[in-house]
Amino acid sequence: MALAGLDIEQRARPRESFGEWVARRGTAFWVVAALLVLMPAIASPFWLVQIIAYALILGMIALSLMFLAGYGGIVSLVQMTVAGLAGYLVAILGSSAITQISLNWPWWAAVPIAILVATVFGTLCGALSVRTEGIYTIMITLAIASAFYYLTLQNYTIFNGFSGFNGILPPVFLGVDWGQGIPFYYLTLCCVALAYGAVIYVSRAPFGLALQGTRDNPRRMAALGFDVVAHRIAAYGFASLIAACAGVLLVWYQRQISPGTAGVGPVVDMLIIAVVGGLSRPLGPFIGALVYVLLRTFALDVLEGLGLDGRRYQLLIGLGFLIIVLFSPDGLIGIWQRLRERYRRSDEARDGAMGGGGAR
């Protein structure tokens, strides 16, 4: 009942034509989309896979966090763990170099089950943590994430302990080896586009609107007859699905998985990526991920170029994160929007001055 409560308004809107739909996206959107599709023609294999595909995968995990935090007001640190669990399941159910554990299922059986189990796990974590609010959610999801990390570290019968799994190869089907650079890039791009579109769609669907309502005023939403807890758990479920898909891509990208993949560091990195990019829009996490990947890859060279110790890139990331958190709560997207706002206002002021102030 509550989940479909807001669809009257949606139905009342007239269907737009394809042309309008294209126009409404704006020029920048189509330029970036075209650039991403044509990327293999421009970028070298290193840039294509190591930088852009990796940033897209990390951005997808951060997108699931952004969905929860931006639309639901829930800051969950468990999304990286969901991705890690999906990756582990692909390694355990599918094939890897650790033949005594891997079950060698075909990919079309292993991947859906991995995604399903990881999504259920994420939803259960959500069901556990929605009993609490705000800071408590952060703490509990952090505790869950670290419990998973230590479990994978200590358990040798299922998770193969410290060394984890290696030799996990992306599947070959339809005559294409999806582990090759360009096919893998398009596979990633396709998944990311689907996830991005799904987040935008859901955020405007009745469910997403109700979720944003529970973020802004849970008591009023409850008084209106919405089941706030159910909405939040459903949001966890949706976000976990995205994170799980990204986890499968991640394990195919790295070809191995170990406890460090979903350790406390990466879990916090995901929050950093989402916050640095900006939690207010689905685009934010991808910007954050790109910045993060670029920093990770080139900080060493840049720092050494400046005559500093190259190993201090973690310090650089920490300082950058601190500065962004202190001065721009909506991340890089927020800075961009504020700059644009200021530019437009000064533009308007100039127009106003030319018109002799009569425009007011």
């Binding site: 800051v75 609490t132 800071i135 509990i140 200590q154 920490g318 601190l322």
Partner: protein
């Protein structure tokens, strides 16, 4: 106490029974049948004592953490970094002066000053903004971790215990019987027992200070209604700074203590932070008795888990947290 027995007779009975069984397990000589099913008594007893002393360490860290949260609603996710910083500092000072007590004192004071700086320079400007404080402290913890790695490298350090605290003591618990009927007594490192006593003293003093003194009254009033307290003319900011300094100082102190009977290395900061998170989630946020109960439970769970079910030790701690959340989301000892 009597009130609790009156309200929850069945729970009281279960608790009394459990305590009785535990006491019997500690003092009785185990029969061979029991040793076959539970393992050796020595292992059981050392897991018990290790759990309790580990709980003492967790209490020292988590009580500062929960005090800061209780008063300022400030989740300081850099608390583990303060612990590690205090530990390294204590190591350096201990090596330099040769005195464990001086190391303890210096770590407390210096980390308390760091806490004051953090409060005055950062958190004062973002009161009531939970998420922002959390993010800022995450940023700080990354910076601290890298600075400490820079300064001390990736090696493992151990703070040397003073001579008068080193060596084992014999406890009045029989571990086993020799063939001639003479009892073998339990021996245990003195330093761990001293730390347990220290943690109990700190806990009792904190409880007394909070419940029996004027400053404690101000702190508790600040927890309940900060605006009203400042309206009555109390300089709330000053109280905040003092509490932050004390909580941070405790973390630094705990760092030296932890460095004495465990070790210090990069990554220890997050481990301690996570333990104290679980401790305060289990015990209840902002409650000193809660921190004590939670620390004891988590410490015991970790030690018994690592002895009796090594692969799933972490899961035991986690299951306890889930169970507490499911029954009492606000924690065992919280009022609300």
């Amino acid at each position: 106490m009597a009130d609790f027995i009156g309200r929850r007779p069945i729970w009281s009975l279960i608790i009394i029974l459990a305590v009785a069984i535990l006491v019997w397990l500690i003092f009785a000589i185990w029969t061979p049948g029991m040793e076959a099913s539970f393992g050796r008594k020595r292992v059981f007893l050392s897991a018990l004592f290790n759990g309790i002393t580990l709980g003492a360490l967790y209490f020292l860290v988590a009580s500062g953490f929960t005090l800061i949260f209780g008063l300022m609603r400030n989740v300081n996710l850099a608390h583990g970094s303060l612990y590690l910083f205090g530990g390294y500092l204590g190591y350096s000072v201990g090596e330099w002066t040769g005195s464990w007590l001086v190391a303890l004192l210096v770590a407390f004071l210096v980390v308390a000053i760091v806490g004051i700086l953090m409060q005055v320079l950062l958190f004062r400007w973002m009161e009531g903004q939970d998420l922002r404080q959390t993010l800022v402290t995450i940023g700080l913890s990354i910076i601290f971790a890298d600075l400490l790695l820079w300064g001390y490298g990736g090696d493992t350090f151990q703070v040397t215990a003073p001579d008068w605290l080193s060596g084992p003591v014999t406890l009045p618990f029989a571990v086993a019987l020799r063939s001639n009927g003479e009892a073998v007594m339990m021996t245990y490192p003195l330093v761990r027992i001293a730390i347990l006593c220290g943690a109990i003293i700190v806990g009792v003093l904190m409880w007394l200070a909070l419940n029996r003194t004027r400053v404690g009254m101000l702190v508790r009033a600040g927890v309940d209604d900060r605006d009203m307290l400042s309206a009555t003319g109390v300089r709330v900011q000053l109280v905040f700074v003092m509490v932050f300094a004390f909580g941070a100082g405790l973390a630094g102190l705990a760092g030296v203590v932890g460095g004495t009977f465990q070790s210090l290395q990069p990554g220890e900061d997050t481990r301690i932070l996570l333990s104290s998170l679980v401790v305060v989630i289990v015990g209840g946020m902002g409650s000193i008795p809660g921190a004590a109960v939670g620390a004891l439970i988590v410490g015991l769970a970790e030690q018994f888990g690592s002895v009796y079910m090594p692969t799933y030790a972490v899961m035991l701690t986690f299951i306890i947290m889930v169970a507490v959340l499911a029954i009492r989301p606000q924690g065992l000892a919280a009022r609300r």
